[in-house]
Symmetry: C2
Subunit: 80 residues, 2 copies
């Protein structure tokens, strides 16, 4: 079973990496870009759990290690 965790900065949190990307794209001539934000995705292979157990387990992983819940929000998709 695979869990896909999407982690992004909460709205309102300054995203210097996203700003740098947006500015670089405009500098390269992509004038249509008005902003960018960067997040991350972590795919986790999980064995021996059903979907509900996997989701519960991955939620704990996010709270403990994967996300900084002060400034980041996360979303979990369970596949397969």
């Amino acid at each position: 079973m695979k869990a896909i965790v999407h982690i992004g900065l909460k709205p309102g949190v300054l995203d210097p990496q996203g700003r740098a990307i947006a500015r670089s794209l405009v500098d390269l001539g992509f004038d249509e870009v008005s902003g960018a934000r960067q997040g991350k995705v972590i795919e986790i292979d999980i064995s021996g759990k059903n979907a509900d157990q996997a989701r519960e387990s991955v939620t704990k992983m996010c709270e403990k290690l994967l996300a900084n819940t002060v400034i980041e929000s996360y979303r979990i998709d369970i596949e397969g």
Copy 2:
């Protein structure tokens, strides 16, 4: 209009960050974790283009700046 670009390492490319995440999770007691891979997501706000034009433009952005196509693959979703 918003373009969401998913960038990940190609299969077979070593992912030390993903390995570190998997190992840390196991160390924390999540024995069900058998592997992890980390990728990134870039959300780009685009103005003045229709969906097809936006996709074409974002493909160029990926090739020129966002992805290292030697080791990374990307997927583009257009929203709104």
